[in-house]
């Protein structure tokens, strides 16, 4: 098999930088010891909310990790409860004792990948996901057939038949989640600032964002330019490794991280508009901490990574905001709110737009069920969580849902559609773009997916 075109030459770690034995060196016991079993994490854990059982709560999973650390081998039931964790990090926000559950589950997932043989069917699905989503070129190759599939109405036929659900629930979930595709304009490598230049920023285009939500990237580049930024969009960039990192595929993640570091080494700031990607890039410092050649470069990349909303609030508004008369519900993506602590900035940007009303969604801290690959690997739990989130979104009676992560957008619109509701969905960047360009609410509301 030849390497897909948009991948740069493989970048290898420095010799001798073997993957650190993450479970050794006492990191895990120390992290586990931080948990005092108070249970404050339980009500924000999506799976505890769904099933009300200890072993599907962060406290219970930490207990399972402890059991394993004390010598209980990984068993089917144990792995099942680890797999069911969405990695949404709501528990990290809720924890008063500072337990680094995000780190714990990452270490555990890596351990599961190393030590626990999965059944063939599961292995195939996982391999398929990790051979597809982190590669924009492969996703692009899929766009043509997918568009045809949607345009011919074959999609409706297949869904009615239920054939995919019988074949593979993951495949069925993937099919249902695919957004309706339009044209995908390519962005140039450089977009010049309007007016006096305030900054030069690199922009990550992402994989799913780039192929399935190209409008979001175009809007992001325009907003940055209108706010006085030269935008550099390196052609050499590929996947940031978020999906791999959050699934315990550490080696793969490190490989993606090194490529991303190289692609963006020339810029001082990297603006990211997908929550999962931004959070992964902010983790590079830790991911590559044990690799002497890369540790410093990884640290530098993490420091200069900013979520779009975070960056725009930092530099402050300069371009004129024009009215967007609409009522919007803002959805906190877990990897933005819990992982990056970015909650107030998107709200500040939205409320800064004249005639736009922001409504809060109840239980904002509870995940929508998208969670990277979760809705593909755990379709049933994901669908239940999606349904809950959809109900909360509907209760706001907003006409536009704003979310800053492509996975969340797909997940929530799919759930709403299941409930027979269609709502327009936009990224914060697209709402700002509409405001800055004086387009009003029309174009945003008309694109109900």
């Amino acid at each position: 098999m030849t390497a897909p075109q948009d991948l740069p030459e493989p970048v290898v770690g420095s010799p001798g930088a073997t993957p650190p034995d993450l479970l050794g060196e006492g990191e895990l016991p120390k992290l586990l010891g931080d948990c005092v079993h108070c249970g404050f994490c339980l009500p924000t854990c999506p799976t505890y909310v769904l099933w009300g059982e200890e072993m599907d709560s962060p406290r219970g999973r930490i207990h399972l990790m402890q059991q394993h650390a004390e010598g209980t081998p990984l068993s089917g039931p144990m792995v099942e409860h680890f797999d069911r964790c969405l990695g949404c990090m709501a528990c990290v926000t809720a924890c008063p004792s500072g337990v680094q559950y995000d780190r714990l589950i990452e270490l555990t997932r890596a351990e599961v990948e190393r030590e626990h043989p999965r059944p063939l069917r599961e292995r195939l699905v996982r391999e398929a996901i990790f051979k597809l989503f982190p590669y924009p070129a492969r996703l692009r190759a899929l766009r043509g057939p997918l568009r045809a599939y949607q345009k011919t109405g074959l999609d409706r036929l297949v869904r009615r038949s239920g054939v995919l659900d019988r074949l593979s629930p993951s495949l069925a979930a993937m099919e249902r989640l695919a957004p309706p595709l339009g044209r995908a304009p390519r962005l140039p490598e450089r977009v010049a600032a309007r007016g006096e230049r305030r900054a030069t920023v690199g922009m990550l285009t992402g994989c799913v964002q780039r192929e399935f939500f190209p409008g979001v990237n175009a809007a992001t580049a325009r907003v940055l330019a209108m706010e006085g930024c030269d935008v550099i969009i390196p052609k050499s960039q590929g996947c940031c490794g978020a999906l791999s990192l959050h699934s315990g595929r550490d080696e793969e993640a490190r490989d993606f991280a090194r490529r991303t570091i190289v692609a963006f080494e020339a810029v001082d700031v990297i603006v990211v508009n997908a929550a999962g990607c931004g959070s992964a890039m902010k983790e590079y410092a830790r991911l590559l901490a044990d690799d002497p050649t890369w540790a410093g470069r990884a640290e530098a990349l993490s420091v200069k990574t900013k979520d779009l909303a975070e960056f725009l609030v930092d530099i402050g508004p300069r371009a004129e905001r024009r009215p967007v008369p609409a009522t919007v519900a803002y959805h906190d993506a877990c990897h933005l709110a819990h992982a990056q602590g970015v909650r107030s900035q998107p709200r500040a940007l939205l409320t800064g737009i004249p005639e736009l009303t922001v409504r809060e969604i109840s239980d904002p801290e509870v995940c929508c069920g998208s969670a990277g690959t979760y809705n593909l690997l755990q379709p049933e739990a994901a669908a239940e969580l999606g349904d809950r989130k959809a109900l909360s979104v509907r209760a706001t009676e907003a006409e536009l849902l704003v979310a800053a992560n492509p996975g969340c957008s797909m997940q929530i619109t799919t759930a709403l559609a299941r409930q027979g509701t269609r709502i327009a969905v936009a990224h914060t960047a697209e709402v700002l773009d509409a405001s800055l360009r004086g387009l009003g609410a029309g174009p945003l509301l008309r694109r109900s997916s």
């Binding site: 079993h37 249970g39 339980l42 059982e53 200890e54 072993m55 406290r59 008063p96």
Partner: protein, 482 residues
């Protein structure tokens, strides 16, 4: 015929469905302890019922098989009240979390036992009401657990404990019958006996709670002192002036350090103690009393007083206090949360003695307390990796309880006796006292299957002659009292 545990598990699975019965050891172990981790016991079977009828069915099966059972809500208890039995069934109510009814005109709501305390308030807040008991764990603790432990909270100084906010409980009796106990029913106050019985008299399956009107206004201040003594003086002055605050809470330097590390609550730096005073009620009354409280706090030597300007500022003040227990995890690898009561006036003396105890033993003690009603929560810190440290901490913790008893107080204010403090009961009560309590228990649970091994140091069978001791039987000639 004796039913074995595997046979019982099968019967329970038939009654509740496979998915509601856990027998896999890896899963069972996650239930081995509640919020108090130094007592652990892996249950033989865990069941996750979804209705009162299912709980009744489980209890009937256990009763028929002679197998003990323990109820558990969210597993946040701090006295090991929900510690499982290795030879028994753990009945977990975390799937029973429906709010069944909200009756605003009659100021009541009916909830299932697994409903989270704060969720009751969230549900009725739009109508201008809330559920008053507010344990620090209110974001996760269950109402059923609150009933079992008669939980208090920072605001019970003015509003009372759970017992004051429960109007009725449907319970499953230890023989598997569903009955309702209601406040104000003629005859004995069985509801009063049930609330706070720590799961030893039955399992509550439905709770009618009283809703309290949200006060017209709330004012909160934070006063910083150089020392605990100065803070204590302020507390006495405020209560002495006839003010009944909604809450008066105190934290010492060590617990402030922990809270700061955890939630960055921004308490005044360098404080040896902070006092949180909250007043609520009608606007003019609160305004007048708040001015007085502020004056009294200053007179007692406060070097800084902060008044919460809005709900957000108030929430931040409370966040430090409410996260204090768990936050101690930031400054110590392990700790014991103690719970004792002393007369408010003994506060300075007892705290000085705790200080001395700490200095003498080298065991650090952080102090958090509901100062208004003398409910202490000393946090005894230790490193569980260090040999003997746990035992030393346990020793200090026990001696703090002795101090409470010496000063005419109690071994628990609100966390319950559970398994952890059963051994201290004889320090507070005579054998006759304990036998009397056990007779009540025998009235409800003659077979002794409902949460056995809790509260009492030496459980006894109900047919047994009480007190195999020398001298006259403690109830001799007094039986008519009961």
């Amino acid at each position: 015929m004796e039913t074995t545990l595997p046979a019982l598990a099968e019967r329970l699975a038939r009654a509740l469905g496979d998915e509601a019965v856990i027998t896999d050891p890896v899963r069972l172990r996650t239930y081995e302890c509640d919020g108090l981790t130094n007592h652990r016991a892996m249950p033989a079977i865990v069941v996750l019922p979804e209705s009162a009828e299912q709980i009744a069915a489980v209890v009937r099966e256990c009763a028929a098989a002679g197998i003990p059972y323990v109820a558990r809500g969210s597993g946040t208890g701090l006295s090991g009240g929900a510690l499982p039995r290795t030879d028994g069934v753990l009945i977990v109510t975390s799937r029973m979390r429906r709010i069944l009814e909200i009756d605003v005109p009659n100021q009541r709501a009916v909830v299932e036992p697994g409903v989270i305390n704060l969720d009751v308030t969230r549900a009725v807040r739009p109508y201008g009401y809330y559920f008053a008991p507010d344990p620090s764990s209110q974001q996760i603790c269950s109402v059923g657990g609150n009933v079992a432990e008669n939980s208090g909270g920072a605001h019970c100084l003015k509003y009372g404990f759970t017992a004051h906010h429960v109007l009725a409980c449907e319970i499953v009796t230890p023989d598997g019958e569903l009955v309702t106990l209601a406040a104000g029913d003629p005859g004995y106050d069985l509801l009063g006996a049930f609330i706070g019985s720590e799961g030893t008299l039955g399992i509550t399956t439905k709770i009618t709670v009283r809703l309290t009107r949200v006060p017209e206004t709330v004012q909160t201040l934070l006063a910083a002192y150089d020392s605990i003594e100065a803070g204590g003086t302020a507390v006495s002055a405020i209560i002495g002036a006839g003010v009944v605050p909604a809450a008066i809470e105190m934290m010492d330097a060590l617990s402030i350090e922990a809270a700061e590390a955890s939630v960055a609550c921004g308490y005044p730096p360098g404080a040896g103690a902070v006092l949180i005073v909250e007043l609520d009620g009608p606007e003019p009354e609160v305004a007048a009393q708040f001015a007085e409280v502020e004056r009294l706090c200053r007179e007692a030597g406060a070097f800084e007083i902060r008044i919460a300007a809005d709900d957000a500022a108030r929430a931040l003040i409370w966040k430090g206090r409410k996260s204090a227990f768990a936050a101690v995890g930031r400054i110590s690898p392990a700790y014991i949360v103690q719970d004792g009561v002393i007369p408010r006036t003994a506060l300075p003396q007892v705290l000085a003695s705790i200080d001395a105890l700490s200095a003498e033993s080298g065991v650090r003690v952080a102090n958090v307390f509901h100062a208004g009603d003398g409910n202490l929560h000393p946090l005894v810190l230790f490193d569980d990796a260090e040999p003997g440290a746990a035992e030393r901490a346990e020793e200090v913790s026990g001696r703090i309880l002795d101090l409470c008893i010496e000063h005419g107080g109690s071994i628990t204010g609100e966390h319950g006796v559970g398994v952890d403090k059963a051994r201290y009961m004889p320090r507070m009560f005579s054998d006759a006292d304990l036998d009397t309590m056990q007779m009540v228990r025998c009235g409800f649970d003659p077979a002794g299957l409902c949460n056995p091994g809790k509260v009492f140091p030496t459980p006894r069978l109900c047919g047994e002659v009480p007190g195999v001791r020398k001298g006259p039987h403690p109830y001799e000639g007094k039986a008519d009292i009961f």
